[in-house]
């Protein structure tokens, strides 16, 4: 194995992260290569220097400062949940109201369509005058006026009125 390939494995080698085959190849190479052997030693000492840095610890004030902040967040979290539930209920109420309004509008619209769609019918005037818009209808109206005039108007006026009906004026 070339020095270049071995060197790429040295970091994993010192971490025991090489495969058995790779480890064997590195072992075999460094036994006979002074430069790679020296590099291996330097990397091991570098790793040791870093690993031996003292581990720092938090101050005694750390937890006394953190705990109240966590409790505050807990309360904010509970208030937030309550606020979300209330908002959901309000939204639900609004949704129900909107749905009810929509249904009402739909019912009115359907009713109007039903009314406007009635065909072949004239407005009802009363049982005694119900008739199609034909000569029969006009004859009936004229007959009714004749009977009315006979009871209320002078004879000469009655004649004039009947003549106008006969002539269509």
């Amino acid at each position: 194995m070339s020095c270049r390939k071995v060197r790429r494995l040295l970091s994993a080698y010192i971490d025991d992260a090489c495969s058995p085959g790779e480890r064997a190849r590195v072992d075999g190479h460094v036994d006979s290569c002074n430069e790679c052997s020296a590099l291996l030693g330097e990397m091991q000492r570098t790793k040791k220097l870093v690993a031996e840095l003292p581990h720092r610890r938090t101050s005694d004030e750390f937890m006394p400062a953190l705990v109240p902040r966590l409790r505050e967040r807990q309360q904010l979290g509970a208030a937030g949940v309550l606020r979300r539930v209330m908002q959901w209920l309000l939204d639900s109420q609004l949704r129900w109201q909107a749905a009810a309004a929509g249904v009402a509008v739909l019912v009115v619209a359907v009713s109007l369509v039903g009314v406007l769609n009635r065909t072949g019918e004239t407005p009802t005037l009363g049982p005694e005058v119900t008739a199609t818009a034909t000569d029969d209808y006009l004859t009936t109206v004229v007959e009714r006026h004749r009977r009315f005039a006979a009871t209320t108007l002078p004879f000469d006026d009655q004649a004039l009125i009947y003549a106008s009906y006969e002539n269509g004026t």
């Binding site: 994993a12 870093v50 938090t58 953190l66 807990q74």
Partner: protein, 193 residues
């Protein structure tokens, strides 16, 4: 996930601050050490660690348990620490280095730290070395810094690091290799034989 964490995590997911506080007490030093080594600044690191736990508590409902709680915490800590580093880079170098001389009219005197009891030579040398190693880590790019701290200092496995960073295993290996080569370069006088 460790057995002791499961019940606490379930309660914390329901918003139980006391349960979460117990988790925080268990992991605070690990996270603090991590962000301190990433950011190279111990005082700021404690504030940042607080913020990591606050954010984690707020986000607990979204924790699905596919990763361990520790891995999830490291994810949050990594993102927040890198945010700090990016802002710091945009802000530029600090106005006054710790050892800048003090101007006094027509002369200047060296800035000195508060007097302390004399230390043994070995302790001073060890502290200087540790400062040098931290400077070398801080000089790495953010991507390389994160992997070297997570592996060599925090003790996470390759797989855990891959999960924290959301990258393939091969990427973790490659970044560790590059980080160690760069550190070796900076720390030549300490590692050469």
């Amino acid at each position: 996930m460790p057995n002791g964490d499961i019940a606490l995590v379930q309660r914390a997911k329901q918003g139980d601050a006391e349960a979460f506080a117990r988790l925080a007490a268990k992991y605070k030093d690990r996270i603090y050490n991590y962000v301190a080594r990433l950011c190279g600044d111990a005082p700021e690191a404690e504030d940042l660690t607080q913020e990591v736990f606050i954010r984690a508590f707020v986000a607990m409902r979204r924790f699905r348990g596919t990763a361990t709680f520790q891995t999830w915490l490291y994810k949050i800590a990594t993102n927040m620490a890198l945010d700090v580093l990016r802002k710091r880079r945009r802000a530029g170098p600090p106005a006054l280095p710790l050892d800048a001389p003090i101007e006094t009219g027509d002369s200047s005197v060296p800035r000195e730290l508060a007097d302390t009891a004399p230390e043994p030579h070995e302790a001073v040398a060890r502290r200087e070395l540790q400062l040098e190693v931290q400077r070398a880590i801080s000089a790495l790019s953010q991507k390389l810094r994160v992997v070297i701290v997570l592996f060599d200092i925090q003790g996470l496995s390759y797989e855990e690091i891959a999960e924290v960073l959301g990258v393939p295993l091969g990427t973790v290996k490659s970044r560790l290799f590059n980080a160690r080569m760069a550190l070796r370069q900076r720390l030549t006088r300490y590692v050469e034989q």
